[in-house]
Amino acid sequence: MLRFVLRRLALMVPVLVGLSILLFAWVRALPGDPARSLLGEKATPDSIERINAKYGFDRPLLEQYLTYVKALLQGDLGNSIQTGEPVLQSFLDKFPATVELASVALLFAIIVGIPLGYLAAKHQGGIIDTFVVSGSLLGVVTPVFFLAVLLKLVFAEWLGWFPPALRSDARLDSTHITNFYMLDGILTREYDAAWDAFMHLVLPAIALGTIPLAIIVRITRASVAEVMHEDYVRTAEAKGLSAMTISRRHVLRNALMPVVTTIGLQAGLLFSGAVLTESVFSFNGIGQYLFTAISKLDFPVLQGFILIIAIMYSLINLLVDLAYGLIDPRVRAQ
């Protein structure tokens, strides 16, 4: 097990080195001049030169790259050109919002998706099944931003059940420790703040979670349906085990493998959806921040953020592979 983890971690190194080179090259290939974008129309050649010298953009590319990697190895992602803040710091400020949104969305998808998929498989061909399958199909084909706009219109504007935007009500002056607003509310015992944060999360999380939900439903359904016809399930039935035991110990456990893979894949994909969802709900997370960074050509922010996202994406994949071992002893043996 340990050897497996170490080998996987070692395999990540060439990927990350490659990624850092690609990111570096890509960011330099962006058209336009970051200094000009910072200084605006009134920039003098002199001041542009000063900014370029400050960030080292006037030096040869190889030298720039080596400086960048050297700083990177010391945990320094550089400073934002636009705000001057350290990239790592602004990442840590914005990231909890996205993680909060993405994890609530994924949790929603898992909690609703696995039972629905299981139910559909149990009653294959029935009304529940038809309903669940067509519903999941609709979920897959509905664009995230359209769903977000619809939810906002119906539940925030018309019915007024949920707040239409932002992460929290500005009137509630709550303290933030971790920047996970819901967690902060609980930690500081400001339960109204936690509730407020939750209410702000509901609509964006549903919008973001619908596609993973639809996919989890279908994978669970297909996988459970396949396992239910396996010989060992028939054996278990013949032994007279209760339906409950069969479902839990034999069917679900074996059917979960592909579901776990899917959840891992979806967790990575949530970042793409988060950019759109965050922009509809003005949810102040990394999605929105990254988007501004691209339009403002903030090189250090782009390089830093995407690198961190890629590292996490690889780590999620590693976790998925480890989860296999926990679910299926056969994988562990290999």
């Binding site: 060439p14 990927v15 490659g18 990624l19 690609l22 890509w26 290939a29 962006l30 058209p31 294959q124 061909g125 099944d129 038809t130 399958v133 199909l137 609709l138 897959v140 084909v141 509905t142 664009p143 995230v144 931003f145 359209f146 706009v149 619809l150 219109l153 504007e157 996919i215 279908r218 994978i219 297909a222 592909p258 893979t261 899917t262 894949l265 990575g268 994909l269 970042f271 793409s272 959806g273 950019v275 759109l276 922009s279 990254l290 988007f291 691209i294 339009s295 782009l302 995407i306 996202i309 890629a310 994406y313 690889s314």
Partner: protein, 319 residues
């Protein structure tokens, strides 16, 4: 990742009527058999009808409406609080700029299909080339083979480690905001999917009995790979391409939604219709609902078609 549809009652009836597998007796090939199963599947028919409907609308756009897209001819009739609905001969009403909504919608189908098809083709060509190289060299074996395979797959891994929308956004940022950039951006985001899929199925085909048989007959490795393994592995890629068309259409709209789509305002595009509708959401929600559902239904058509193609090609369905 297989997302099978429920076995439809139609195909079950066919199977019951065909217990011996007439397909096999008649010696029908893989592709013809798949096509035969496809036309008997109601899901496939619904998907095909939706898709051909959109294609027809896209081709016949100028015949379906007397107006031109992107013109604000009736701008004097719309105001902040009033966007007319069923106004004279505009049966879907006007949009917020004062142009005919139906015209925008019909020409929008053209844009979505062109963008979707071209970008998927880009992804397909680049992705399958990479995948075939990796899979082929890996099947040929030897030090060089493994080396080529590893390098290509690491590059694909890197592409895969960047969320697809961010990749697309950044490519548009590099190439500038125009039709080509949008198509290349969305196509490149699909490359890793095709590359991994084709390589994977080539590797599993490489272990098939017929490869062993062919090499026992003394066929050269290169000939086996090019003449047998590759053609037999291409099926899942075609299915994936159909499914990717749905994703591509949604992603084109997403780019427009983020303000990074086609820069020419005279071009009707569903995503942009949706964005511009947001400001009139309270007074005229149909401006957002109509293009939104158009995107979803179009994506639904390609998804249904792709899923039933997958089902038809699945060897387990051939019994």
């Amino acid at each position: 990742m297989s997302i099978p549809l429920p076995p439809s009652s139609g195909s079950a009836a066919v199977q019951a009527a065909d217990p011996m597998g007439v397909d096999d007796i008649a010696g029908v090939g893989l592709w013809r058999g798949a096509l035969r199963r496809l036309v008997r599947n109601p899901t496939a028919i619904v998907g095909a009808v939706i898709v051909s409907g959109f294609i027809l609308v896209a081709i016949c756009a100028p015949l379906l409406t007397p107006y031109q897209p992107g013109t604000a001819e009736w701008a004097n009739r719309v105001s902040t609080n009033h966007v007319p609905w069923r106004d004279g001969d505009h049966f879907l009403g006007l949009d917020r700029w004062g142009s005919d909504l139906w015209t925008q919608l019909v020409y929008g189908a053209r844009q979505s299909l062109i963008y979707g098809v071209v970008s998927t083709l880009i992804g397909l060509v680049v992705g399958t080339t990479l995948g075939a190289l990796a899979g082929g060299f890996s099947a040929l074996g030897g030090r060089a083979g493994i080396w080529v395979d590893t390098v290509i797959m690491r590059i694909v891994d890197i592409m895969l480690s960047i969320p697809s929308l961010l990749l697309a956004v950044s490519i548009v940022a590099v190439l500038g905001q125009n039709a080509y950039a949008v198509m290349i951006a969305i196509g490149m985001a699909q490359v890793p999917i095709f590359a991994r899929l084709l390589r994977g199925s080539m590797l599993s085909q490489g272990k098939a009995d017929y490869v062993l048989a062919a090499s026992a007959l003394g066929l050269r490795k290169r000939k086996i790979v090019m003449g047998h393994v590759l053609p037999n592995s291409i099926g899942p890629t075609i299915v994936q391409a159909t499914l990717n068309l749905a994703t591509a259409i949604i992603e084109v709209a997403a780019l427009s939604y983020l303000g990074l789509g086609e820069a020419d305002p005279a071009v009707a595009e569903w995503g942009r219709m949706l964005v511009s509708a947001q400001e009139r959401f309270d007074s005229a929600p149909r401006l957002a609902l109509i293009p939104g559902f158009a995107i979803a239904i179009c994506a639904l058509g390609f998804t249904l078609l792709g899923e039933s193609m997958r089902e038809a090609l699945d060897p387990r369905g051939r019994r």
